[in-house]
Symmetry: C2
Amino acid sequence: MRNFSFANPVKIIFGKDTIKDIANEIPIGAKVLMIYGGGSIKKNGVYEQVINALTPFEWFEFPKIEPNPHYETCMKAVALIKEKKVDFVLAVGGGSVIDATKFIVAAVCFEDGDPWKIISEGMSIEQAMPFGTILTLPATGSEMNNGAVITRAETEDKRAFFSPYTYPKFSILDPTTTITLPSRQVGNGVVDTFVHIAEQYLAYRENNTLLQDNFAEAILKTLIVEGPKALNIPTDYGVRANLMWASTWALNGWVGCGIIQDWATHRIGHEVTAFFGLDHAQTLAIILPGVLTVLKEQKAKRIQLLGKEVFGLSATSDDILIDMTIQAVEDFFEKMGVKTHLSDYNLGDEAIEKVCERLKERDWKLGECQNVDYKMAKRILELRK
Amino acid sequence: MRNFSFANPVKIIFGKDTIKDIANEIPIGAKVLMIYGGGSIKKNGVYEQVINALTPFEWFEFPKIEPNPHYETCMKAVALIKEKKVDFVLAVGGGSVIDATKFIVAAVCFEDGDPWKIISEGMSIEQAMPFGTILTLPATGSEMNNGAVITRAETEDKRAFFSPYTYPKFSILDPTTTITLPSRQVGNGVVDTFVHIAEQYLAYRENNTLLQDNFAEAILKTLIVEGPKALNIPTDYGVRANLMWASTWALNGWVGCGIIQDWATHRIGHEVTAFFGLDHAQTLAIILPGVLTVLKEQKAKRIQLLGKEVFGLSATSDDILIDMTIQAVEDFFEKMGVKTHLSDYNLGDEAIEKVCERLKERDWKLGECQNVDYKMAKRILELRK
């Protein structure tokens, strides 16, 4: 185990009928801006619950945050916050809305030119506005971490930032809000959660990380049991509760304490989304099996552990076990309704060229051993046609 | 899963040579009181490291916190803090030192008469002094929670309290500090951690808590693999790191989110320690197998899960599996060098009488179904002679 530090101050309020509790968490007298997405919250009753809970406050709303939220959209919310002198922000939605909100609360306080520099130049911020979240789509873990991924539409650039100032003050997780999700989003959420763990669990190890391995397996095993049930019995509250809480813990910092991490799948996937608009989870479902195949030597012990401990596989040789495990990962994604090949999304050689050209320009060396360059990415993507 | 809220603000700094980092965590210019126990930190180099790190501060020390820390001792530290106008407290030691420190920082600020009322009457506190910890004995989880157990020597009373104000600001976990622990303390620490999980994992369930079950099993499986190694190869850093981090997560609130909990073993155990001075973990090792046996019907599914998922057992009938599992728990405690019968500590019928008389006086109904009264406690203890 490597040295690390860990702190996560987010207050979670979890369970049925908890949206009303925001009234106890938002400072009395605050002017609130509610940020949300495409309007599904108006169909499933969440919007109604939120505005009822906001009765004691003066509040405004900023709808239409897009999936893979745009810098350009965020800057409009920044202007509204300044105009209305808002002092608390409430994100209502999934990872896109929450990520956008993190950038917005940071950008409002940024005084050193264009806030895009927070992302493009990794400029650290010194403060951010306080915000809370109401999660309606379990997937990204953004509700209990300090990271966000923002896309600049103009330059087809999708990039992450982190700051100690962008933890939510609170997050409301009511599993009943997820029961009406379309199955595409349920599948995406489970795949995203799975790959968050994979980026941590399947990275090559220098030494003993048994506890973190067991933690990661706890989440993966939950996904494998509960994920398909969420598709088949959409109204099962217990299943939704397990999946929602699992997605939060898959990326709140805890599984990754003291270990090396990979993240090549995410980094390549972000480029595929930025260019071709695929759902984030779709890119992960395509790329992860390719990463595991190309790096099967480096990750051999990790893949075998996944096969044995999570999928319950055994085989007559290590090589066979590895191949069976990679196939099991792919099969699980397909079972969750997320297609795993570029051709499923009408992408081919041209798309591969475009993504690899971008990786070459950036001269990225990805993965836990920093050996995934554009050439290796090409081998990965070629396998996933 | 039941509704819950979860927040844990403690900053953890984990790894080799991290004691020096306290200098970055204690507020500049603070007057510091260092609280510690019997002096083992003077033999293993920890004391030296701490006073070197405290060079930038004015500091005082309060040694000789006893195991099962006494209210009477704590009040002497309270007087010293007031006399010296201390404004930050640093606990260096295991659960006893940290628990004592929690009571001390609360008692200093308590203005409503005798601070014992915080415990005896469950009076809530409105503030506490800030404090940090350097953990040297992984066991109680006190370094990342807000609870403490204090003993009033005068009345042989051992009781717990909790407050949102008694979370450490930071905790330093350097596994190298645990390498010189006597094997008795290593065994005690592993048993204590195991039983913390058991109190949460083995409680009867109303519904689906798969994720929490998997989390709990992650820790138990780590203990079973690494615990015996810590006794056999005391210098293995990786083993010590896993055990230290496991003990923190066994009782920082996370495994228990959304589930009913038991705690009968701890409550009865506290009485045994208060009267007869056994180590805390010794009482747990005696009592848990008895609780499981007497409540085997109520806990049937949970005990079977433990047997299958943690000990890898299988049997021709549920009843046999349950008995095998309870035996496996007892065997594991014995393997860790912690004896599991009252007679191993020269206690017999008289001790059972005394403990049950106390439970009767208090009219306690313990456990997740509140059905463990003094009569059932007697059956439990009779089984453990």
